[in-house]
């Protein structure tokens, strides 16, 4: 188990401020946040690669804050594979075995396990410069795993590979997790990676922890406007509350629960809003008429901007739905959403 307690790290003008969270043994833990939030600094401080000003890092009950990185048994894989370019793939993979007390036979077994498991046999005598991005990242993972780390730290490991390799590396990470059970902490700024791979997460913003919990809880109940925005709830409105109603200008939104506050924010995910050309009988308690103000294609999906009174609602629909509806700019449409899809912030 990893326990990060009131961790403060200062580097130049940037600092991590009193970060605390726990990662359970065997977790696939996600650290999320926008660029510059301090995600890499946080995992590097767990690994002992940057000096900690205050606070503690405890691993399996042992305070490792004062230990150098080589004594922590924590492997790190960065966004770029950072293979040692002057040595062959096989020497890269077995580099860390020079420092373990594992017996010769066990070392060989470990090497064979990851060389076969990650399909690297045909690459062993090559130099890193001759590998593709996906191959290099697989070698980097093997190098990190062969030392049997207590914790595997992944710093956006799929960001710099092509989309096809990205998917296969994500599959591979899940497989590694299932086979080895190694506690994994992964940094990403992509919420879809988090949903696919992780079970628990922290969201960071500007060196501070914005939310901490299970991925599902964060996804369904963002705690702040920042978190809601970060996880893709594109419809965030400042409202006044009156019982279970949220008053958005002249629009009244039914939230389905009494909010004991006078004002605040509501957030609705764009994929939780339905769109139609006519008013339909539905269980959805919120239904408004508006006009299409923009249509934006993003491959398999379309984002439709619908202006209701003076408020813009963003709606995501599939390509098929878009062509069924034959939507056009300026067209009159209805939008519908459930009270339960509204997050009160």
């Amino acid at each position: 188990m990893i326990e990060v307690k009131d961790l403060t790290v200062e580097m130049g003008n940037f600092s991590l401020k009193e970060i605390s969270f726990k990662v359970n043994r065997g977790d696939f833990f996600i650290i999320m946040g926008p660029n510059g939030a301090g995600k890499t600094m946080l995992i590097e401080s767990i690994a002992g690669l940057v000096p900690v000003k205050n606070g503690k890092v405890i691993i399996d009950g042992e305070d490792v804050t004062g230990l150098p990185p080589e004594k922590r048994n924590i492997s790190i894989v960065y966004q770029q594979p950072y293979l040692f370019p002057h040595i062959r793939v096989i020497d890269n993979i077995r580099y860390g075995l020079n420092f373990t007390t594992t017996g010769r036979n066990d070392k060989k077994k470990l090497l064979d396990k990851y060389i076969e498991g990650l399909n690297l046999k045909h690459l062993l005598n090559r130099y890193p410069s001759t590998l593709s991005g996906g191959e290099a990242q697989r070698v980097s993972l093997a190098r990190a795993l062969v030392v049997n780390p207590k914790v595997l730290l992944l710093d956006e490991p799929v960001s710099s590979v092509d989309p096809r390799s990205k998917h296969s590396i994500k599959e591979l990470l899940l497989r590694i997790k299932r086979i080895t059970g190694v506690t994994t902490v992964m940094v990403t700024h992509d919420f879809s990676d988090a949903l696919y791979l992780g079970n628990r997460a922290v969201i960071m913003n500007n060196g501070m922890l914005a939310q901490y919990g299970t991925i599902d809880a964060i996804f369904s109940n963002p705690a702040t406007k920042f978190v809601a925005d970060f996880i893709g709830a594109k419809n965030i409105f400042h409202v006044k509350f009156n019982g279970s109603k949220a008053l958005l200008g002249e629009i009244t939104v039914e939230t389905g629960r009494v909010v004991p506050r006078k004002e605040g924010y509501i957030a609705i995910r764009p994929e939780d809003i339905s769109i139609g050309l006519s008013k339909i009988e539905t269980s959805m308690r919120n239904s408004f008429i508006g006009t299409v103000s923009y249509i934006q294609s993003s491959g398999y999906f379309f984002e439709i901007g619908v202006m209701v009174k003076r408020f813009l609602f963003k709606v995501i629909i599939t390509r098929a739905s878009f062509f069924n509806l034959k939507l056009k700019d300026g067209e009159r449409v209805f939008i519908f959403f459930k009270a339960s899809s509204i997050n009160i912030l």
């Binding site: 990185p69 080589e70 492997s75 950072y82």
Partner: protein, 260 residues
């Protein structure tokens, strides 16, 4: 189209003039001496001794630069501290000050008028008119070239590679010797060649500190002063030839390491 062609023509013309400017005097040295005078120079013990002394003292200066310059340049490349820019400027001072001034400066600190000079004398270390003095001067003038090249080499090695190595269990020294140093070796090699080149061409500072024993540039100067151009040219020919040979060999080695 015409203006583009003119532009290229001007560039090529300037480049040709520049190459001629550099090669013509050297080429003239290489063709000015007759074969018998060149052979005679090679049998002249003073000439052979001065060229060997030049190579040995320059090589020693380059080796000293390598030994002390590697740790220093690594430190500069990896750590930020107040006054770093100031120290980097100080290191480059030998490049900009007139070379006789360097000789005078070294003599003034190593002479008996200074406590450090008296301390050296007490230890039996003599700078004035000795091989040690020549090596000291040559190290002083050549070390900035080594440090600048090595520092750039270390800066080009990603710190993430070092971090990965540390996280895999390697200590800081192991990481330095097995990851950082091998990856910076080309720049270190270039720095070594540059510092050797700078040292073998030095005259102004050496002539102040140690006229004797004579290194090749001092001998060339003496032959020119005493007997004229004709007698200095064969010595110059051999010094240039040996320097060129050393550079060609090192260049091949650098190219080889680059291809690896």
């Amino acid at each position: 189209m015409k203006i583009n062609q003119m532009f290229w023509i001007v560039l090529i013309f300037i480049s040709i003039v520049l190459v001629i400017f550099i090669t013509a005097p050297i080429a003239k040295i290489m063709v000015s001496s007759s074969p018998p005078s060149l052979i005679k120079a090679l049998t002249d013990t003073d000439v052979v001794r001065s060229i060997l002394l030049s190579i040995i003292t320059s090589g020693s200066a380059a080796l000293i630069s390598l030994a002390v310059g590697i740790p220093f340049s690594y430190l500069l490349s990896r750590f930020n501290f107040s006054g770093k820019k100031f120290i980097e400027s100080i290191i480059n001072i030998p490049i900009v000050i007139p070379h006789p001034v360097i000789g005078i400066a070294i003599l003034s600190i190593a002479g008996k008028n200074c406590w450090f000079g008296r301390f050296l004398q007490m230890l039996g270390v003599k700078i004035m008119g000795t091989v040690g003095g020549i090596v000291t001067v040559l190290t002083f003038v050549s070390i900035p070239f080594f440090i600048n090249a090595a520092k750039e080499g270390f800066e080009n090695v990603s710190q993430k590679l070092e971090k990965v190595s540390r996280s895999l269990g390697a200590s800081l020294p192991y990481t330095f010797f097995h990851i950082t140093l091998p990856l910076a070796k080309r720049s270190i090699f270039i720095g070594f060649v540059m510092s050797f080149a700078r040292a073998i061409s030095e005259f102004g500072a050496v002539v102040i500190v140690a006229y004797h024993p004579m290194i090749a540039p001092v001998l060339i100067y003496e032959r020119f002063e005493a007997y004229g151009l004709e007698y200095s040219l064969p010595v110059a020919f051999w010094l240039v030839s040996i320097s060129l040979a050393v550079f060609i060999i090192l260049r091949i080695l650098i190219m080889k390491s680059k291809n690896e």
